[in-house]
Amino acid sequence: MCIFTCRSMTVALRAERVLREGRISGEVVTIEPSLTKRGCAYGIAVKTDACEKTEKILRKRHVPFGEVIR
């Protein structure tokens, strides 16, 4: 599993939709506060083998994401 951190639930949901269009199944998850140091945060989790494609799609569709937790 790899997780793309998102600044909000709104962005995580946008990421999920964009990935669905690219035929990647993602799940909105909460991120451990220790990882963001900013408090509550969300991310989109995808299967490890979809990580590279996910990154490409999110960048192409201008969906902002932070750290990628692998």
């Binding site: 600044r7 909000s8 639930m9 709104t10 939709r17 909105v28 909460t30 900013r38 945060a41 969300y42």
Partner: protein, 383 residues
Amino acid sequence: MARENILYFDNAATSWPKPAPVVEEMRRAVEEYGGNPGRGTHKLAIKAAETVYQARENLAKFFRVETAENFIFTMNTTYALNMILKGLLHPGDHVLISDMEHNAVLRPVEHLRAKGEISYDCFDALGTDAEVLQSLEKKIRPNTRMVVCLHVSNVSGNVLPIEKIARYCKARNLLFVLDAAQSAGHISLDIGSLGADAVAMPGHKGLLGPAGVGILYVRPGLLPDTIIEGGTGVHSLEKEMPGFFPERMESGTLPLPAIAGLNASLGWMMKTGVEAVFEKERYLGRKLAWRLLNDDLLETYEVTEGSVFSVNLKGIIPQEFGQKLAEQGVCVRSGFHCAPLAHRRIGSDASGTVRFSIGYFNTENDIKKLDRILSRVELDLLI
């Protein structure tokens, strides 16, 4: 209350009835997925968040805007206007508002003026498009920073030339804030190409959603200051509000049932088509205008081709006229409609007017019934 005994002509206050899917979706939001959107990832919270996000997506689709996140949910249009006016204006700024504005615009700018922070003037909103722009031009000052105006008057139904005003503002580097309280859902509004910096609208009027949710669109790149701060579900360890939309402007729990209802109404609107809504309302509006204009006992004001009409029964105060109509099951609004500027402008500032406003669910039969009731009420009051 039996629907068949009601003649509802108060759609400018709030639309009624609502499409059936709105009621059903609100029930589902309460009974089936009533989690807190943006506050956690358990099943109910996710379903709630997805519903809220889908509502933003539907707004983006309906108003032809690319970014769903730039639609911010507020309590109502008044909150949305307060948020954008107080969030963007700085001490020393001068603002131009139209002379048909609702108190939702007049009172915030007057409040800021009374505090010594800003100044404002009114431009003439009636007349030809060229005259409106000339009036704007005349009132411009070196420190003018923003133009605020409504799209459609809630008193007379007059439509302002917002595309031309938007272009004028862009050319002058002025912020343009639009109050679409009486146009959203009634008239096709392409926010994406309009070029407004912000648009405020209600969910419960032309968009046919429930009361309890308003909408503020803020164009990408514009970051207003906040007037309400609090929990957003993200960046919780930081003392400052997030610097991104929509969370920056949405403190506290969102009204999920209202947003779910709005989402359903947007779906209904897109299926029906705003053009079809416009055509039906215009058709009925013409019939009603004809009835009102051809009645010597009535004084009419600025009758347009729209769906909002202000009248007075000669010699009778509007409250009395409105009350008599109410006793016959006719729902109208009498008084000043929270728009003293507009009444001054159209010459009804002595006691206001009785306002008839049409919605999509009105029928030709409603107009026929109203015709008969109007004649009866007029006789009762004048003889």
